[in-house]
């Protein structure tokens, strides 16, 4: 009797240990975390907020998924669990995930010339889908935001000369390098991908494609993705999701593109997303570009951009402090929304403190 019971307990324990958690309509919640490490994280992420000076770290949402379960979330300012928050350039990585579904349908290859899907690019005939995903179009683009409004291509694209047709505005720029030869972060490159997708999946499916391809299979109900006047999604900047919903995309990526039983993104697609771009030069940006995601990898002789996080950490990052970090080796997805108006916030500091609070506590 006793022997049978202990065997049953062992079986139950091992079943629990190996059960894979996935969110249903809601995330299931894991054991709540408390203690000094969590306090240190909250002291860093949620200092007193001053909406008149807008100085310092201004986290709107911080949410942590471990092993497929929600173990922490906190909101500040006007943001709640129901707020579809502006993701800014996290949208770029979301577009990569949407493209990954089309890639899985066999609708394009990484080395396909983009001009085949978007004819205004015919003056850049050798530009491939992979080059755009690496932000290596060679197109002479200026990404500065508010600090150089006169010269900024991105401000002109979003608000003035380019806003009616952002891909055409981008394609109209000249070149400074051959495609695929050099990294230069460009919101224009992301919107060219978005325009190419229209032909790749067909204009009839395009208007609903992010929802049918990505959001609905993941159980994301309230995503918003704004378009320009031609109906092209502003893949560079304007997707909105709740923190809980964005974390679903993080879990998809943490598990190599698999959602439950379904391989939604091909494994080789996610591998491409996570492979450093070979022509990236040290310190060109805050992290190492992969295929429209940011990587914590050594590159070109430089150290990892976030030394206090594992080398397999990768992220989707946006203006004003938006971030989603994925750490597959520690089964962690961390979403941070913010309204940081200065450069005080540090990815590495957040990652260091979050790992102290959350990493590795379920291991036997």
């Amino acid at each position: 009797m006793f022997k049978g019971l202990s065997l049953l307990i062992i079986l139950l324990l091992s079943a629990t240990a190996h059960a894979e958690h996935w969110p249903a309509e809601q995330w299931s919640t894991g054991a709540a975390i408390t203690g000094p490490a969590l306090q240190a994280l909250e002291t860093y992420a949620f200092p007193a907020r001053d909406d008149s000076t807008r100085k310092g770290i201004r986290t709107d949402a911080l949410l942590v998924i471990r092993d497929g379960q929600l173990i922490y979330e906190r909101y500040a300012g006007p943001t709640t669990a129901d707020t579809p928050h502006l993701t800014w350039s996290i949208s770029k990585s979301l577009m990569a995930a949407v493209l990954g579904v089309a890639y899985g349908e066999g609708r394009f290859k990484l080395q396909d010339p983009v001009a085949g899907f978007y004819p205004p690019l015919k003056k850049h005939p050798n530009l491939t889908m992979a080059d755009l995903l690496h932000w290596a179009s060679g197109i002479d683009w200026q990404e500065d935001y508010e600090y150089a409004p006169l010269k900024s291509s991105v401000v002109a694209m979003l608000y003035t000369r380019g806003h009616t047709d952002m891909a055409a505005f981008t394609a109209d720029h000249g070149s400074y390098a051959a495609p695929g030869e050099a990294f230069r972060y460009s919101s224009g490159d992301s919107n060219l991908l978005s325009a190419a997708l229209k032909t790749i999946v067909g204009p009839e499916r395009y208007a609903d494609y992010p929802w049918t391809a990505l959001f609905e299979p993941l159980g994301i109900d309230h995503a918003v993705w704004e378009t320009d006047d031609t109906g092209t999604f502003v893949a560079s900047s304007y997707a909105y999701l709740t923190a809980r919903d964005l974390a679903r995309v993080g879990l998809l990526m943490a598990r190599d593109g698999r959602w439950g039983e379904r391989q939604l993104l091909p494994k080789d697609w996610v591998a491409f997303n996570r492979e450093p771009f070979v022509h990236y030069r040290a310190d060109q940006d805050d992290a190492v570009p992969g295929g429209h995601w940011w990587l914590n990898r050594q590159a070109d002789g430089a150290a990892q951009p976030w030394p206090d996080a594992p080398a397999d950490t990768f992220a989707a990052l946006g203006h004003w402090g938006q971030a989603m970090y994925v750490i597959p080796s520690e089964h962690l997805v961390i979403v941070r929304y913010a309204d940081d108006r200065d450069g005080t916030y540090r990815h590495n500091e957040l990652l260091k403190l979050a790992r102290k609070a959350f990493a590795g506590q379920v291991q036997p």
Binding site: D51, L86, T160, D339
Partner: protein, 107 residues
């Protein structure tokens, strides 16, 4: 020529600076002409999304879109979900389009 510069060095220098300035204005004419549009277009678009996509309250959204350049006119038609903003002599509107599409700057 060198005689002219020698006799009127300050006037010559100012003339050269003026020519350089005119050249720069000509070179940047497209960007300069678009520049005054930024503040009203930015404010209209980002306020619209703050208010009607993110569903934040109106007072918060006014603070959220505040920049170092002033705006002179601001109307939020809550029924049509249309924002119109004036600043630097230009005026722009943004409209909420729907549940999936959010807000868009009018052409």
């Amino acid at each position: 020529m060198s005689n002219v510069i020698g006799r009127r060095p300050i006037r010559s220098l100012l003339l050269i600076l003026l020519l350089a300035l005119l050249g720069w204005i000509w070179h940047e004419r497209v960007a300069l002409w678009a520049f005054p549009d930024i503040i009203s277009a930015y404010t209209a678009k980002e306020y619209c999304s703050c208010r009607y996509v993110m569903n934040n309250d109106a007072q918060y959204c006014r603070g959220y879109v505040k920049q170092w350049l002033p705006v002179s006119g601001f109307t939020d038609d809550a029924v049509a979900k249309r924002i119109t903003v004036s600043g630097m002599g230009r005026s722009h509107s943004a409209v909420w389009m729907g549940e999936h599409q959010g807000c868009r700057l009018s052409p």
